[in-house]
């Protein structure tokens, strides 16, 4: 008997990838709008297309004595990572590429190879700038994972499940974000780290390291990295919607539309607020993580545990 599993999985996986590409374009429009101060809305929609064309035409050159395998594979690893992580994001009821019982756990685990890809990119360049940036990327890996995971665990505690679809349905009566505000704040701040978004973009942005881990990349490879960075931010916002803002649930409009709207609004709010801050210094970023976010996330777990047991009575 023919095994149809690969074919039945192909359609939702393709849909996920297509959704990712469209979502990344949405994030790029958001960034372009903020870069231009929203002076020209049309420009915000066309600039990402222009940037894509420019990078596709640009010549990609490899630095001398670079580690060829790591240098060439890093952007591919980054893109594959975000594509795999996107599979567990439910766009609507039944609209999910891959729905394991440990969906959230799978998602958090899939963030790590992305950081490894960034570290490889910096290491493989065989330059001091890249090396310093690699150490910074490693600090990102060590720093964000704990508060992000601890903040995100509140939703599974309330839903009594790690499956992303079940977490959404458990919010049918009340969003988890309403009674887990501390978790929301910690999650959204921590989400900026693995996405290397401003103000925690010292690894690759800013003049002090002249591009950092991406200094030597150009052309299509740089485009892949930029795609992956924006996709990572989009996925983290999407998972935030799943964990705290009811996922696809909402009146009148279809589920996927609600999900996309919520994701873009959350991304817009986070981007707006983050732009008001200067670029964080490396040690300030670490201090924020270990001295504020980690203790706060532990406190959040305690609060959520008490509330989940005695107030909201666990999953509905």
């Amino acid at each position: 008997m023919t095994n149809l599993a690969p074919f039945t999985a192909f359609f939702p996986a393709s849909l996920t990838l297509l959704g990712l590409i469209i979502g990344v374009y949405g994030v790029a429009v958001l960034d372009a709008g903020f870069d231009t101060g929203w002076r020209d809305w049309g420009l915000a929609f066309t600039l990402p297309i222009g940037e894509t064309r420019r990078l596709l035409r640009q010549t990609d050159r490899r630095p001398q004595r670079a580690d060829t395998f790591l240098y060439q594979s890093a952007p591919l690893i980054a893109v594959v990572t975000v594509a795999l992580a996107a599979l567990v994001i439910p766009l609507g009821p039944g609209l999910i590429g891959f729905d394991p019982s440990i969906g959230l756990f799978y998602f958090i685990i899939m963030l790590s190879p992305f950081v490894i890809a960034m570290m490889n990119a910096g290491w493989s360049q065989n330059s001091k700038v890249g090396l310093l940036a690699t150490f910074r990327a490693a600090a990102h890996l060590i720093s964000y994972e704990v508060p992000l995971g601890f903040a995100a665990i509140g939703a599974p505690m309330a839903a009594q499940s790690l499956a992303s679809g079940h977490i959404v349905t458990a919010q049918a009566h009340l969003w988890f974000g309403v009674w887990q505000p501390l978790g929301v704040i910690i999650y959204l701040i921590s989400a900026l780290f693995p996405a290397y978004r401003h103000p925690f973009d010292g690894v690759w942005a800013g003049p002090d390291l002249e591009g950092g881990v991406l200094a030597q990349y150009a052309g299509p490879r740089l485009l892949l990295f930029q795609f992956a960075l924006k996709a990572m931010f989009l996925l983290l916002m999407a998972m935030g919607v799943v964990l705290f803002f009811g996922g696809w649930q909402g009146p009148l409009l279809p589920g996927p539309v609600w999900f996309i709207l919520k994701t873009l609004v959350l991304a817009g709010i986070v981007t707006t607020i983050s732009r008001a801050f200067p670029q964080a210094r490396h040690d300030q970023m670490l201090s924020l993580c270990w001295k504020i976010l980690v203790p706060a996330s532990l406190l959040n777990i305690a609060i959520v545990g008490v509330l989940a047991l005695y107030v909201f009575g666990g999953a509905s």
């Binding site: 049309g42 600039l47 002090d208 150009a218 210094r281």
Partner: protein, 478 residues
């Protein structure tokens, strides 16, 4: 949602160009203005990603090898564009064109002119081979007892932290800067030597080139020295006009410097506000202020200011004050800039530092934030001062007296510029040209202090500290 933007031509015409700016010393203000003007024209920090190398004259010979290396690193089809600033700089532009035959000369430093130059078909010309530059051998300090390998980060000579080229070696233990070594001379043009070789009027024109970002202050310092030798005191109206011109020049420099620093810190909202203010001040200066140089030339007329300028200057001063309050109240900006790069008043005094750096040390913490606040508040004060004085001059043209007959002797001239007090010692033998000219440059004094201030700082802070010193390398190199 799109508003009244016509999308179709926008889609057709959206081609993004990138450029790497090479500032020879005169381009800081122009490049800061250019960077925020057009979203489809972007500055990048590496020539690998640049469609064009944008060179702003003057370019001294020591900088040519670095420019050639940058040109070699560009992707195929990359263009080299030179902006000569003004007529006196053509010789350096020609020098670059001779070294890089594919270079094009720009008529203006605007997005439209740059885009047009990039779109124009140019036959490909082979770039010369990259110069063989001897590796700079740096003697590293002895390693610490705990074995750590020290890294040497080379910044420059093309870097965005100073106005003009300079090279900094940061010897780092991880993220900590242990030592900073500086190489200068990339913008050296032997201004003093050229002044001595010219007659007095031409020497005054050369003096204005000492700091291309602040030509009035250097020229005025020289003219004051001449007037001291002549024993001549200009009339009150001339003195007021000179003070106003100096104040406006300082304000313009400080505002565009603020834009650069805020962009470096990636504070887009504040940077945009500062840029809007700087652009507004430029517009006011161009519309209302007469030939500022005219007040410095003995014997030439200059018209008075227009009354409409008064309101515009007051408005700019108010915005500058508001911006200073925003900076003061921004807690996150304070976290990023406070208590780094501290220069005490005593240290500044010993190092002959003057201007905003000294004022920040005297009245504030002497850190990066204090230097930013000082420049913004002084900008507001300068603009208010000019606005309050405009009513003192009437509409009649006023002629400044004086002449170019300079008796023998020695005299000093001083003028307060955007980076501090610029002074010059002039020796005359009564002839047609000066015998000796010696400049004391505030940027050179600040540069001597830079290596002391940077030691012990973090890498990310080192760049911000350098930028906060507002070093004009054309002035520092002389």
């Amino acid at each position: 949602m799109i508003g009244n933007t016509n999308l179709r031509p926008a889609l057709r015409g959206t081609r993004i160009y990138t450029y790497l700016a090479v500032d020879g010393g005169a381009g800081a203000l122009e490049l800061a203005r250019l960077a925020g003007q057009q979203p489809t024209l972007r500055a990048v920090s590496s020539s690998r990603h640049a469609d064009a190398l944008l060179i702003v004259a003057p370019i001294a010979a020591p900088l040519l090898p670095a420019i050639k290396m940058l040109a070699q690193a560009m992707p195929p089809g990359g263009r080299i564009l030179i902006f000569p600033t003004h007529a006196g700089q053509d010789e350096t532009a020609n020098m670059v064109v001779n070294a890089l035959p594919s270079a094009q000369i720009l008529s203006s430093l605007t997005p439209a002119a740059i885009a047009a130059a990039l779109r124009a078909p140019v036959p490909p010309v082979a770039l010369p081979d990259a110069p063989q530059i001897a590796e700079d051998l740096i003697d590293l300090p002895q390693e610490h007892e705990i074995a750590t390998e020290l890294a040497v980060l080379s910044l420059g000579p093309i870097q965005p932290f100073t106005a003009g080229p300079a090279r900094f070696w940061l010897i780092c233990d991880g993220e900590q800067v242990l030592e900073c070594r500086i190489a200068v001379g990339y913008a050296a043009r032997d201004i003093a030597g050229r002044m001595v070789a010219n007659a007095w009027p031409e020497a005054a024109a050369v003096a204005a080139q000492l700091d291309p970002l602040a030509p009035i202050v250097s020229r005025l310092a020289f003219v004051r020295a001449i007037e001291r030798l002549q024993g001549y005191t200009p009339p009150e109206t001339t003195l007021l006009a000179r003070e106003d011109a100096l104040a406006l020049e300082r304000a313009r420099n400080w505002l565009w410097w603020s834009v650069r620093l805020l962009r470096l810190l990636e504070l887009a909202p504040l940077a945009r506000q500062a840029q809007a203010l700087a652009g507004a001040l430029d517009a006011v200066c161009m519309q209302g202020v007469p030939e500022q140089h005219a007040s410095l030339i003995p014997g030439s007329p200059f018209p008075a200011y227009h009354a409409e300028m008064q309101d515009a200057l007051h408005a700019c001063a108010h915005v500058a004050q508001t911006l200073a309050q925003r900076v003061r109240g921004d807690r996150w900006l304070r976290m990023r800039t406070a208590y780094i790069g501290v220069i005490s008043a005593e240290t500044a005094q010993k190092a002959d530092i003057s201007g905003p750096i000294f004022a920040a040390a005297q009245h504030g913490q002497g850190d990066v934030q204090a230097r930013l606040l000082t420049r913004l508040t002084h900008t507001a004060a300068a603009l208010n001062g000019v606005a309050d004085r405009t009513h003192l001059t009437d509409d009649a043209t006023t002629t400044s007296q004086g002449n170019w007959q300079v008796p023998a002797g020695e005299a000093h001239g001083r003028a307060s510029g955007p980076r501090g007090d610029l002074s010059v010692r002039v020796v005359s033998d009564g002839g047609e040209h000066p015998v000796q000219v010696t400049w004391e440059r505030p940027s050179a004094a600040a540069l001597r202090l830079a290596s002391v201030v940077l030691a012990g700082q973090k890498v990310a802070d080192a760049e911000v500290i350098l930028a906060s010193l507002d070093l004009a390398m054309a002035e520092a190199d002389g």
